[in-house]
Amino acid sequence: MNTAIPDPGLLADIAARREQVAAALRHVLPSSAILSAPEDTRPYECDGLAAYRQLPMIVVLPDSEAQIVAVLGVCRELNVPIVPRGAGTGLSGGAMPIADGVVLSTARLNRIVRMDAYSRTAVVQPGVRNLAISEAAAQHRLYYAPDPSSQIACTIGGNVAENSGGVHCLKYGLTVHNVLRVRMVTIDGAVVELGGEALDAPGLDLLSVFIGSEGMLGIVTEVTVKLVPKPATARVIMASFDQVVAGCEAVAALIAAGIIPAGLEMMDQTSSRMVEPFVRAGYDTNAAAILLCEADGTAEEVEEEIARMSAVLQTAGASAIAVSQSEAERLKFWSGRKNAFPAAGRISPDYYCMDGTIPRKRLGEVLTGIAQMETRYGLRCANVFHAGDGNLHPLILFNANIPDEFERAEAFGAEILALCVAVGGTITGEHGVGIEKIDSMCVQFAPSELAAFFSVKRAFDPAGLLNPDKAIPTLNRCAEFGKMRVSGGALPFAHLPRF
C-alpha cells in the first residue's frame, strides 16, 4: 500500500491549515458542503486505484458553478491545491487526494440541464453518470455512444477528464469525438466555454486538448454531449483460433475487407479458462484465442455484415464460429469478456491490470514477450485485448503474501509497458496516467515533450494548483514505476465490470 505514513509535525501543520482553509470556505459554502473530519473525508482517500491512498485535508461538495468559482477563489488566495473528483471510479489514481489539498467533488452537480431530441444534444452537469444520459435519451431512441465499462457509476466530468472510451470506440469514437462543448472554470475564476453546439469553434481547438487533461486544466461545470441514433439491432460472432497470431490476422483481414465492427475483442486462453467457470459464457477453452466481433445497425445491415464477417473469419482459419441468435445470447457471449477482471480476482489473490496500446500487427510479438516474462518473473498473465484499437489489458496474477511477488509483478508490469512503447505504442490507452503511470511517462516522452506538457498546463493553470503532480512527471521523478494493484482480488466498485 502506498499510504503516506503521517509525520506528527506535518499532521499538526495540516490541522492548523485545515482550520484556516475551512474557515475561509465557510464564507462561500454552506457548512453541509464542507467535510473536514477524517471520518467524513475517509471515503475520498482513494479512487479505483485503491493501492494508493491519501486522506485529503478537506472535501468540498459545491452544488453550483458560482460555488465552484468561489471555492477556486479561496484556494487561489490561500494557495491550496485542488483535486477534482467525479465518481472516483478511475483506475489510475487521477483523483487521489493531496495531504494539504482540497478534494472538489462534483457529486452534487448531477442535473441533466436539457435533453433535446431535435438537435441530438444533452446539456448535463459534470456529476451526471454516463449511463444516466443514455437512459434519459432512450425515449427518443438516442444514446450517448462512449461506454466505459464503469458507465453505471462513472460521471461525464470524469469521462471528460480521462477521454474515456469503451468497447465500441473503434466505430463510435472516444469522449473527444462525442463531446461538443465544455463549460469550465479556470483557476483564475474565469468561466470559459470550449467548443460549442456548432461543429467547430473559432481559434485553436482548446476543447480537444482539454478532454483527457485529467482535471489539471480547469473544473468542468457543464458538458454538452452529442447523442446518436440507437442501432436497431446488434449481433455478435464468437470465433475460436488455434493460435493467438491467427486471431490477430483475422482482425487485420476484417479491416482489410473494409469492415469496421461495432465491437472487436480478443481473449487469450488463460483469460477464457479464467472466466468460463465463473460465467459459463460457452467459451471454447481449448482455443488459443477467442474473438468477439459485433455488428450493429438495421436488421438488413447487420445480416449483411455478419455474413461478410463470418466469411472473412472462416478464410482466416477460425476453428469454430458461433453467431448470437438472440439478444440474450449476445449478452451471454459478451459476459465472459466483461467479467475478465472479477474472474482474475477470483482465481488469484491479487492482480495488476496494465493498459498499453500497441499497433495491432505487433500483438504476436508482444504476447510472446509477455509469455517469456511470465517464465522469467514466475508469474501468470492473462491477456484481454480491445483488438479493434490495439488496447491490451494484461492481467498479472500474483499473491502479495508471498515474499517478493509484489515486487516481481511490478517489475513485470513495467517491462510490459516498456515493450508497448518499444513497438510503437503507448503506456495508457484509456485508464489515464494519474499517479499510477506517471513514472512510465518518462519512458514514452522526452524531457522537451514533458516540458511542453507543463507549458500547456501553465497556459490554463498558471498557479499550478489544479490536480498538481499527476499525469506529467517532473524530470527528477523519472526513476520509479508504479502500477495498478488490486489487493485480495477486491476492486473498489467490485460490482462494476472492468475491461
Binding site: 456548432a198 467547430d200 482482425v251 496500446t357 490495439g390 511517462m441 515533450e449 511542453a452
Partner: protein, 360 residues
C-alpha cells in the same frame, strides 16, 4: 504497407530546425507554407516563406491498422491515391483547392469536406504529430494508435492552428474504408423544410453521409452497407442524382457555382439553428451546421450584422474568401479564451515567429 523512407529527411528537418532557431534568435517571422493553395485563407501573411514541400514522403501506411503517417510536405493527392488503392480514404474529405495541397496544410487549416457531419473533422482523425517548436525542437505527441491518453492531446490541438504554434513536421491520421454502397438523392424543398428534415433524419439510423441545400433543392448522399443504402433510399424517396461524385467533389473543392465571386462567409452554427436571414445567398451543408453566405460586397456594418446574427444562433462566422480582410477574418474570441491562446502561443513560439497574425 510501406517501408520507412531512407532519404535525406533527417538533414532537411535539421535545416528547418536551424532556420527556426535563427529566426527565433533574430525575432524574424517565418511563413510556414506547403503548396500555397490556401494562401488566401486567414488574416495576414507575414514573414519569409519556409517551404515544407522538401520534407515529403509517406513514412508508414498500414491499411489493416487504419493509420497513415506522412511528412508535412507530402502532397494530399499522393496520400489519397495510395489510400484509394487499398479502398480506404481520409473520411473528413479534405478540400483540394489545388493539386499542390499538402497534408501539413490540410491539418494546419483543418478544413473538412461534405462528409464532416457524419464522419468527423480533421481533428477527429489526428492520432499523432511531430511539432517543431520555436526552439527548433521536434516534439512528438500522440502516436499511431487509436487509443492513447498519455499526456495532453496536443496533436489534435494542432489541427486548425494555422501554423501559429509551430511547424507540423509529421502527422499520423486514422483512415477508414471507402463505403461499399453510395448513392445521391435530390428533393425540391424550401430552406426551412430542408433544415427541419435534416435534423429529424439525423436523429434516425439513416446512412446520410453528406447534405446540401441550395436554391430550393436538397441533395443527400447515402453511404454504407449496400443493404442500408437501398433501404434508406426506399424510405426517403426523392429523385436519384446521376453524377453524384462530381456534385460532391464540386462542393468539397468549392468549384460549385455558389463559391465564385463576391465575399464568401462561412457560418458555423448548431445544425438545429433555424434559417438565418441575411442579405446574400446561402448554401447549406453538414445537415445545417455549415452555411456558406455569398455577398457581393460587405462593409463593416454588414460584417457586424452577420457576426451578431450567427452568434445569436450559437455559432461563429468566418470571412472565408474574398472581401475586405480588415473587417476581421475570424470570429473574435472571448477574453478568457484569448488569454489561453496567447499563453499557448507564447509557450510553443516564445519569439512569436510562426505565421504571426495569420489567425488573430
Amino acid at each position: 504497407m510501406t517501408e520507412p523512407l531512407k532519404d535525406s529527411s533527417t538533414d532537411i528537418a535539421a535545416q528547418f530546425g536551424a532556420r527556426i532557431r535563427a529566426a527565433t534568435a533574430a525575432g524574424k517571422p517565418l511563413r510556414l507554407r506547403g503548396g500555397g493553395t490556401k494562401d488566401w485563407y486567414g488574416q495576414e501573411l507575414d514573414g519569409d516563406v519556409l517551404d515544407t514541400r522538401t520534407y515529403s514522403g509517406i513514412v508508414s501506411y498500414e491499411p489493416t491498422e487504419l493509420v497513415i503517417t506522412a511528412r508535412c510536405g507530402t502532397p494530399l493527392a499522393e496520400i489519397e491515391a495510395l489510400l484509394a488503392r487499398h479502398n480506404q480514404m481520409l473520411a473528413f474529405e479534405p478540400p483540394r483547392f489545388g493539386a499542390e495541397s499538402t497534408i501539413g496544410g490540410v491539418v494546419a487549416s483543418a478544413l473538412s469536406g461534405p462528409r464532416r457531419a457524419s464522419a468527423g473533422a480533421v481533428r477527429d482523425f489526428v492520432l499523432g504529430a511531430v511539432l517543431m517548436d520555436g526552439r527548433g525542437e521536434g516534439l512528438r505527441f500522440g502516436g499511431q494508435v487509436m487509443k492513447n491518453v498519455a499526456g495532453y492531446d496536443v496533436s489534435r490541438l494542432l489541427a486548425g492552428s494555422l501554423g501559429t504554434l509551430g511547424l507540423i513536421l509529421e502527422v499520423s491520421l486514422k483512415v477508414l474504408p471507402v463505403p461499399v454502397g453510395e448513392t445521391s438523392l435530390r428533393f425540391d424543398m424550401s430552406e426551412i423544410d430542408a433544415l427541419t428534415r435534416l435534423n429529424e433524419w439525423a436523429g434516425q439510423p439513416l446512412p446520410i453521409s453528406a447534405s446540401c441545400w441550395h436554391r430550393g433543392v436538397l441533395t443527400l448522399r447515402l453511404s454504407g452497407a449496400e443493404a442500408a443504402v437501398i433501404a434508406a433510399r426506399q424510405r426517403l424517396g426523392g429523385e436519384a442524382l446521376d453524377d453524384g461524385v462530381a456534385f460532391w467533389t464540386s462542393l468539397r473543392d468549392q468549384s460549385h457555382d455558389h463559391f465564385g465571386g463576391g465575399a464568401l462567409w462561412r457560418l458555423s452554427v448548431p445544425p438545429a439553428a433555424s434559417a438565418i436571414i441575411l442579405r446574400g445567398e446561402q448554401l447549406i451543408e453538414w445537415g445545417g451546421a455549415q452555411r456558406w453566405l455569398k455577398v457581393d460586397d460587405c462593409d463593416a456594418g454588414q460584417a457586424a450584422g452577420i457576426r451578431s446574427a450567427v452568434a445569436a444562433a450559437g455559432g461563429h462566422a468566418t470571412l472565408f474568401r474574398g472581401g475586405d480582410k480588415r473587417l476581421g477574418v475570424f470570429h473574435p474570441l472571448a477574453p478568457a479564451v484569448a488569454k489561453i491562446h496567447e499563453r499557448l502561443k507564447q509557450s510553443f513560439d516564445p519569439a512569436g515567429i510562426f505565421n504571426p497574425g495569420r489567425m488573430y
